[in-house]
């Protein structure tokens, strides 16, 4: 085979991923005068951010003026079962409103309140109506607004410099296979055009990873093909750490029927707008599943739960609006106990509370999705739903203020690929504002780094090494099939590292993942380099295997149940385990995990909570200390 073409580019910053976080980082870097390459695996504007439905959480207080950043901070910490990095949760809660208002200045059109402000809706785990939204297509509004903001900046550059791509260029349908390091710090990134298979070198002193999630590691997921943990794996290989990879969010409501749509998301807004969950006996079962830590905030009877929709000040919330991990486990238990629906889910019904007209207006894409894909009219009948792998709380360990990856100079990470912000469980609505808050901070971090460090040339050795890796699967014949190995991996994660875990199964999973990884070194690819999905999957699979290994190895060590990690053999939450983060690192051969103490709450944040609430999560020594100074 003749050696492929190599395109070479030089930028100040390379942003990998064109979802909300990547685009927000790029805007920040451009506005500071830096040149930015935005690289994405799909077409521009198709990133998974588009799938977010319910809204973006920000304590603007437009609907209930009791809301403020402190209430939002408390809700986020509770949702994450206090495993969150406090500083990330604090920055997020404080800066989210500014990021939403900024979108409006860039052309976003959110739904409005009667006074003409941005409307906010209720969501699981949020004390007040807090989610800015556009019907149930908020993610589309966010991604389009950011995409159009990039275009606006390019138009400005065209006018001023005669070249729209002088400072920002979007490299669509390009996969990064390697983050390059020279002299111990970031020097660029290497990859291939998906269309032609030709190779691409970016020389850049700073790289921002904003690649999103890992859902495709699992069999039933709400994620698209892009969610293959690329950034998680790229960071590990570049010498960065992943934090708390055992925590995966199974969204409680994915479609369960027909088979081909199994896993597709049913937005939490259905419950926010009054949808109730029932089992095959017709019981509204969530009342049975309110954990002790939430008993004072959630109604334990139907009458009170129903009154809450009319009077939120004098009633407790319906238990359908518990954080996602609680609802997912409850649904799982009902189905396991034989009270599931024909297709292995439970019923979610909004038709009894809202008129057909209101449902179509507030949940238009849900109506559309069920009507066209399942033949179900949600204005008349209930939906069948069950848990689906939705979001990874774990991710690259970063410095909260700058989003700099710990341990690698010049590397930054923001959005779903970064860890820490959401602790053991993310609240709905916190993701979209996470993208914006930390996307901006990653951009600022990269700007400061580039300004103080300058260029770092890529060595020829780094280039030839990266090129050899891309060529390898073509050089083999008759080896393993990437599609089959991917399916095998999904079976292992689904059956052994899923929503409920035990030690023996996790140990088995670790062995099986290692075996698949060994065989994946022998993948061969048929056909040419030109837009060849078999070739693309070979690289995506390598990333998913590292993610799965980190998750299984972290999960087997954590001997408790918390948020998105449930152990059948250790069902309770344990205050001592709350003080521990699991750090994954990679030595080129295998992932190893070490326990690292969680940063303790400083006094001013500690004091935002009722001491009796903290007692439910913290050890008596921590309580006695009363936060750090």
């Amino acid at each position: 085979m003749t050696s492929p073409k190599l395109d070479r580019y030089k930028y100040d910053v390379v942003v990998i991923g064109a979802g909300g976080a990547g685009l927000r980082a790029a805007v920040e870097a451009r506005e500071a005068g830096l040149s930015v390459a935005i690289v994405c695996k799909s077409l521009f504007g198709k990133a998974h951010t588009v799938m977010a439905e319910g809204g973006a959480a920000a304590s603007m207080g437009n609907v209930n003026d009791n809301d403020n950043w402190m209430v939002h901070f408390r809700d986020t910490m509770r949702g994450g079962k206090f495993l969150n990095h406090f500083r990330m949760a604090e920055l997020h809660a404080k800066e989210a409103p500014d990021r939403i208002w900024e979108l409006e200045m860039w052309g976003a059109l959110f739904d409005r309140t009667k006074e003409g402000k941005i409307s906010q809706r209720n969501f699981g785990g949020h004390e007040y109506p807090r989610l800015a939204h556009v019907g149930d297509r908020t993610g589309l509004e966010l991604i389009r607004t950011m995409q159009q903001r990039i275009v606006a900046l390019q138009q400005k550059d065209a006018k001023e410099f005669g070249d729209a791509e002088k400072f920002i260029k979007v490299f669509a349908e390009l996969t990064i296979t390697e983050i390059l390091k020279d002299n111990g710090k970031i020097s660029g990134a290497y990859g291939y055009w998906r269309e032609s298979g030709d190779e691409v070198l970016f020389e850049a002193p700073a790289v921002v990873i904003a690649t999103g999630g890992v859902g495709k590691t699992f069999k039933i997921t709400s994620n698209s093909w892009e969610g293959t943990g690329d950034g998680h794996a790229l960071a590990l290989k570049a010498g960065a750490n992943l934090v708390d990879m055992e925590f995966l969010q199974f969204h409680p409501t994915g479609m369960v029927w027909p088979l081909s749509v199994k896993g597709i998301l049913v937005t939490e807004s259905v419950r926010g707008e009054g949808g109730i969950l029932t089992n095959s006996l017709g019981e509204r079962f969530m009342f049975k599943y309110i954990p002790d830590v939430f008993k004072d905030k959630y109604a334990d009877n139907e009458a009170e739960a129903d009154r809450w929709y009319l009077d939120q000040d004098n009633n407790r919330r319906p238990p359908e609006l518990l954080p996602r991990d609680e609802v997912a486990r409850a649904i799982n238990s009902e189905v396991k106990a034989g009270r599931g629906t024909e297709h292995g889910g439970v019923f979610l019904d909004v038709s009894k509370r809202l008129s057909a007209e209101v449902i179509k207006k507030r949940l238009p894409s849900m109506w559309h999705q069920f009507y066209e894909l399942a033949g179900v009219d949600i204005t008349k009948e209930p939906m069948e739903v069950g848990p689906t792998c939705h979001y990874v709380m774990g991710g690259v360990e970063v410095e909260p203020d700058t989003a700099a990856a710990v341990g690698v100079d010049g590397l930054f990470a923001a959005g779903e690929v970064a860890g820490g912000m959401h602790g053991s469980n993310r609240l709905g609505g916190n993701s979209l504002t996470d993208l914006l808050v930390f996307g901006r901070r990653a951009g600022m971090g990269a700007v400061a780094y580039v300004k103080s460090h300058g260029a770092n040339p890529v060595s020829e050795a780094s280039i030839s090494q990266a090129a050899a890796r891309i060529e390898a699967p073509f050089a083999r014949t008759g080896g393993e099939n990437a599609y089959s190995l991917h399916q095998e991996l999904q079976e292992v994660t689904h059956n052994l590292v899923g929503i409920i875990r035990t030690e023996s199964e996790l140990v088995e999973a670790i062995e099986k993942i290692a075996d698949i990884r060994k065989r994946s070194a022998n993948i061969s690819v048929t056909g040419s380099r030109k837009f060849n999905p078999g070739f693309h999957l070979a690289f995506d699979l390598d990333n998913m295997l590292l993610v799965a290994e980190s998750t299984a190895k972290s999960a087997v060590l954590r001997q408790e149940s918390r948020g998105g990690h449930t152990r059948d053999d250790f069902p309770g939450m344990n205050s001592t385990w709350r003080q521990v983060n699991h750090i994954s690192s990679f030595d080129g051969e295998k992932v190893s995990i070490k326990a690292q103490p969680l940063s303790a709450l400083p006094k001013e944040l500690f004091d935002l909570f009722d001491i009796h609430e903290l007692e439910k999560y913290m050890t008596s020594e921590e309580i006695a200390k009363g936060g750090t100074n």
Binding site: S42, L43, F44, K46, H48, V50, M51, M60, W101, E102, E104, M105, W106, G107, L109, F110, D111, R112, E115, G116, K117, V134, G135, R137, G139, L140, E141, Q148, R149, V151, A152, Q155, A158, A164, E195, S224, W225, P258, L259, S260, V261, I264, L265, S365, H368, Q369, E372, L373, A374, N481, Y483, V525, G527, S528, K530, F531, N532, P533, G534, F535
Partner: protein, 255 residues
């Protein structure tokens, strides 16, 4: 109960490509994209297809199924007869890169030609107040998932490469309409630009774009026709024309 499905799939590019016959199993409830994935995993490992969300939200898996522009993820296999052969081809209005993947860069170039939203200079973040009824008109157009099916079906460019230079297409007419109706946008003359720079006049309202829109956006009725009417008002109404010349304030009559 699985059924056996007969497909004809386009393989290759514009010049050397051809339809290829394939037989594959289909399960109840499956959509055309599921079938394409099965073909990919079992028979044609290098079959090129774009897709992302598989839920009709991202607009990536646009193609032509039995000649009709559609999203493969929203097209039920059961909509076709037991003995029917389903023919799957790439979008015809754009150059084929490989198999079902086309070069849609035309659309990104057009997006760059439309001036972005412009806010009043003195407006601060958090200040805007708008009524729901006023944002809804633009919101309808912002539902667009950029699947480009409307562009593909539009006969002005479908078989007329020569028109692409002067015609932006339905997707960008709704973008212009969205900005034109945006309660905060201060840029004037968007309708005039649509007419003079983006080829609005070439549209003869056959509504093909509206018919194929998976988001059911009323492209023709709510965006194209209202803009055409306004343009006609200004251009051909003698009193308005005179007014615009005397006052030299075109935007008075533009709105």
């Amino acid at each position: 109960m699985a059924r056996t499905l007969k497909l004809r799939i386009w393989r290759g590019d514009d010049t050397t490509g051809a339809l290829q016959d394939v037989t594959v199993d289909a399960n109840p409830g499956e959509v055309v994209l599921d079938i394409i994935h099965r073909v990919q995993a079992t028979q044609m490992g290098d079959l090129a297809v774009r897709w992302n969300c598989k839920a009709g939200k991202c607009g990536s898996c646009s193609m032509e199924i039995n000649g009709r522009p559609r999203l493969a993820c929203m097209t039920q296999v059961s909509a076709y007869g037991e003995d029917e052969t389903i023919t799957i081809t790439p979008l015809r209005a754009f150059p084929v890169i490989k198999d079902l993947v086309t070069d849609v860069s035309f659309n990104y170039k057009k997006a760059m030609e439309i001036p972005s939203v412009e806010m009043p200079a003195d407006m601060k973040p958090g200040e805007p107040r708008m009524q729901q009824v006023d944002v809804e008109r633009s919101q309808e157009f912002r539902k667009c998932i950029e699947c480009f099916l409307c562009q593909d079906t539009c006969h002005v460019i479908r078989d007329h490469e020569e028109n692409k230079k002067s015609f932006a297409g339905p997707r960008f007419f709704i973008r212009i309409a969205e900005l034109d109706m945006h309660p905060l946008d201060i840029l004037r003359n968007r309708k005039k630009q649509a007419q003079e720079e983006h080829g609005l006049g070439m549209c003869n309202i056959t509504k093909c774009c509206t018919e194929v829109c998976p988001e059911h956006i009323r492209i023709t009725d709510n965006a194209i026709i209202p803009m055409k009417e306004r343009v006609v008002d200004t251009k051909y109404d003698p009193i308005r024309w005179l007014g615009s010349k005397i006052l030299k304030r075109e935007d008075i009559v533009q709105n």
